[in-house]
């Protein structure tokens, strides 16, 4: 690959940052694998920040109460991508729907964290920490999952993005990468700095992991097969906050390309020998209090593009992969007075992957009849998100049940693991 092409790819990816996209991942060690197939298993967690409206992700067009609650922002049955007699997918989720038709994507339509405060920040804390109580721990459940992996499959961490999300903070030092110029880890300056940081418990491990990841990044970028056209809306020169807005206004083709390439680059990391097997990715902008139809269409277009990029980029490894998209809470069952929805409770999780067993919805559908609504306001949760995570970590990633219950999701007995998904 020429330098110029590489720079273009980096620029396209850099623009993903302007869309509120960031990727986070944890990896496996370069140690020999002794657990056979388990050693190939991959898990990607997509966090949709801001409170994603599940009733827009998988509109329950067959539910008798749906149209009445959603009024002007409701989908007509013929406008959604049909899943079954009750549910469809949002029309922007074309890649997800194609996978669903192959039995490689399912929905959990009424999932929630154990938090009920309807605060973004509390609910994200609970989602990422895996605790039942808010601010109970400063480590994330994906980090503790790595810690709990058996010695033969001990993983090291890696994430892409400029900041560290809680879900990956903890004892295992995660590596990280985001598009940029690249650093030669053998150069003099990095070596001198490693020396300067050798007694620094925060900067030392973080810097060392950052250097290691740079070389892997080169391979991941090279692995991106699609040629890249120069991007007009490259984030760098735009005024603060204006880029995302202008991308929305034009239907966001540039954003969609950036999102797909981000997914493909993440896949490029994951398919490498010794590459990460556990990843987390954030997509923000879901707090749709007003005029939500257009915003959600744009965000779901990006989400679909990221998932599509992952799917195609992983190639053969897709069969070893499960991707789960979750949000901190759903939104009110009724549309509010400003064409949007306010903070609610249950939402939809998407579960995708070649490792997934085909099947219907995950968890029960409580329905939208007024007595079924939580506090006469929100879609009621029927599934604790921790149960979904525990099931996937146990069945798919092969984590020990006892470790899951005691260390990764302590005090989560009431959230029974959802088994049999893979």
């Amino acid at each position: 690959m020429t330098d110029r092409l590489m720079m273009n790819r980096r620029r396209v990816l850099a623009s993903a940052a302007g869309l509120g996209l960031s990727v986070t991942f944890l990896g496996r060690p370069a140690l020999a694998d002794t657990d056979g197939a388990l050693d190939k298993r991959k898990l990607v967690v997509v966090i949709c920040r801001g409170g994603m409206d599940g009733l827009s992700v998988s509109p329950p067009v067959g539910d008798a109460d749906y149209q009445g609650l959603r009024r002007g922002i409701a989908f007509k049955p013929e406008d959604v991508l049909k899943l079954d007699g009750t549910f469809g997918l949002h029309p922007a989720l074309t890649s997800v729907h194609a996978l669903a038709l192959k039995g490689q994507a399912r929905i959990a339509p009424a999932v929630a964290t154990p938090d009920r405060a309807r605060s973004h920040f509390e609910a994200q804390d609970v989602l990422e920490s895996g605790s039942a109580q808010v601010y109970a721990t400063t480590s994330g459940w994906l980090n503790r999952a790595l810690e709990a992996l058996p010695a033969s499959r001990k993983a090291q961490g890696l994430y892409v993005g400029a900041t560290t999300p809680l879900i990956l903070r903890g004892k295992v030092q995660a590596a990280s990468w985001s598009p940029g110029k690249g650093v030669d880890e053998t150069a003099r300056l990095p070596t001198l700095l490693q020396d300067l940081y050798k007694t620094d418990p925060l900067m030392g491990p973080a810097f060392a992991r950052g250097l290691e990841t740079e070389s892997m990044a080169q391979v991941a970028m090279t692995a991106m097969a699609t040629p890249v056209e120069p991007l007009v809306a490259a984030g760098g020169m735009a005024a603060p906050g204006m880029m995302a807005a202008s991308a929305v206004g034009r239907g966001g083709r540039a954003g969609r390309d950036a999102a797909r390439k981000l997914g493909a680059t993440l896949a490029g990391f994951m398919v490498q020998d010794g590459g990460p097997r556990i990843a987390a990715l954030s997509l923000d902008g879901w707090d749709t209090h007003a005029g939500q139809v257009g915003q959600i269409n744009t965000r779901l277009t990006y989400l679909d593009a990221v998932l599509s990029g992952l799917n195609t980029g992983l190639g053969d490894e897709w069969k070893n992969t499960v991707v789960v998209t979750v949000t901190e809470f759903g939104r009110t069952a009724r549309a509010n007075g400003t064409g949007g929805t306010d903070h609610g409770t249950a939402s939809t999780a998407l579960v995708l992957g070649g490792a997934l067993k085909p099947g219907g919805i995950i968890g029960d559908w409580p329905g939208l009849a007024q007595p079924a609504l939580y506090e006469n306001r929100d879609l009621a949760p029927t599934l604790d998100m921790r149960g979904l995570f525990k099931g996937l970590l146990g069945d798919h990633m092969g984590l020990d049940r006892a470790a899951l219950e005691s260390r990764v999701f302590a005090n989560s007995a009431e959230a029974r693991a959802v088994t049999g998904l893979v």
């Binding site: 302007g18 973004h120 900041t163 300056l189 300067l196 973080a206 204006m242 206004g249 923000d284 707090d287």
Partner: protein
């Protein structure tokens, strides 16, 4: 609790309380480090980055005009006409100029504690360019809400924030309609939006630990209906207006207290009670201590600030003084990890210069995950080391430091620069690494990336 030496205190005054040392700053603060900070507390407010700046109202009108132009172009089938693109650039340039002016003030001011104090409050009352209409009003919001009241009363800042067009658009208040109001009764499709009410309770005032209910949020949202912004075709275009016809009539009960019907006065009365609530004092005290001193701040410091806030009736000049006078705030070990903005501004201060163009500062900030004027949520930017000291973040800081050093190093004596930047906080290993560097560029990059320069 004893205080550290004058030398350490001088370095802390400039780098922890302030935004970093310009050449000579630490030496200048040595005689009376606390006094140097106290002198910066100014009842007239924080400094304004620009003379005769545009107002939020002017920006609102300009953005509306641009949006109208774009809509017409779209209706005509070509949304990317030259006129639209020029208008887009003109309006983006305004926001860019605001941000550059603020960065230049931060890099150049002799009163950088005052500036940090203002930045803290701007982050407390976050408005973000993540929303198009709000994006051009972030700078004016700081000018009109934050800076004038930075050393005034918290209550005044809260009311100013809650009645400012940037906040009213950012958190969707402007369109919230009381279902029982005249307009609500006429059009059943319009109704409440509780976004601003919830975030005022959770983020601006009492905090979620205070334990309010969904009913409190909804009641507050009802009380706030009518808080709106003048449309472009109205007299008060782009300014706060109270719209009686969308205000939910009736008495409200919030946190156990009844509020009689009083139009605009009802919402203002609630805001004043929230400002005076003990939970607000606690919430604000903790955030100040966390921002200035440690991610897990000393409880004794939080208690002092809380008392100061309560006793003074939320006078922020008194709270700032309490912070400076608190011995816990002068702990010699620096644990606060600089945010990207703080890191970049302190680097310009180190060389006694200012960013010369918007691109110089916005491009690295985007790479470091802190796009200017665009916090990702109403909670504002994180203050925590765990968030910013990431592997990728450090690599990006190194890349920027190398590029910065390549431009500036040849004019600097690295040993002098290290001493001037960190004073008594400079450690032997860093001093040695700087002294032994092969080139000035290497020396300056090492200094910028040193553990003590990355912290404050």
């Amino acid at each position: 609790m004893s205080l550290p030496s004058k030398d350490i205190m001088a370095a802390l005054a400039v780098t922890r309380f302030g935004l970093g040392a310009r050449p000579g700053d630490i030496a200048g603060a040595r005689r009376d480090p606390r006094g140097a900070l106290i002198d910066q507390i100014d009842g007239r407010g924080a400094d304004q980055p620009q003379d005769n700046p545009e107002t939020a109202a002017q920006r609102f009108v300009a953005m509306r005009a641009y949006q109208e132009l774009r809509r017409e172009a779209r209706d005509d089938g070509d949304p990317r006409t030259v006129a639209v693109q020029q208008a887009n650039k003109a309006i983006r340039d305004k926001a860019a100029a605001d941000f550059l002016a603020r960065a230049r003030l931060g890099a150049s001011t002799a009163s950088s504690f005052r500036e940090r104090w203002a930045l803290f409050w701007a982050n407390h009352f976050t408005v973000s360019g993540a929303k198009e209409l709000t994006a051009v009003m972030v700078g004016p919001f700081e000018q009109e809400v934050i800076r004038p009241y930075a050393f005034g009363r918290f209550e005044d800042m809260l009311v100013a924030s809650t009645t400012h067009p940037a906040m009213l658009t950012y958190l969707d208040q402007a369109q919230s309609v009381g279902p029982g109001s005249l307009a609500g009764a006429r059009n059943g499709r319009r109704g409440l939006n509780e976004n601003l009410a919830r975030e005022i309770l959770e983020l601006h005032t009492i905090g979620i630990e205070a334990g309010y209910s969904q009913a409190d949020v909804t009641e507050f949202a009802r009380a706030l209906t009518g808080f709106s912004v003048g449309r472009e075709d109205e007299d008060r275009a782009g300014q706060f207006v109270f719209r009686e016809n969308i205000h939910e009539p009736g008495a409200r009960t919030l946190l156990g207290k009844a509020y009689r019907p009083d139009q605009l006065g009802q919402g203002v009365a609630i805001l004043k009670d929230l400002a005076a609530h003990p939970a607000t004092a606690r919430h604000v005290a903790f955030k100040i201590a966390r921002h200035f001193v440690a991610d897990d701040p000393p409880p004794a410091l939080v208690a002092r600030l809380e008392q100061s806030f309560l006793k003074s009736g939320g006078r922020l000049d008194r709270v700032a003084l309490t912070l400076v006078e608190a011995p816990e705030a002068w702990e010699p070990a620096a644990t606060k990890f600089k945010t990207p903005y703080e890191f970049l501004i302190s680097s310009w201060r180190l060389i006694g210069a200012q960013p010369s163009a918007f691109e110089r500062i916005t491009v690295p900030l985007i790479g470091l995950g802190q796009r200017g004027f665009s916090p990702p949520s109403p909670k504002g930017w994180s203050d925590m080391a765990g968030e910013w000291c990431s592997p990728d973040g450090l690599i990006k800081r190194l890349q920027w430091s190398q590029a910065f050093a390549a431009v500036v190093a040849d004019k600097l004596d690295p040993n002098e620069a290290a001493s001037a930047a960190l004073g008594a906080r400079l450690t032997a290993p860093t001093a040695q690494a700087v002294a032994r560097a092969e080139t000035r560029r290497e020396a300056i990059a090492l200094l910028l990336m040193s553990p003590e320069f990355q912290r404050r």
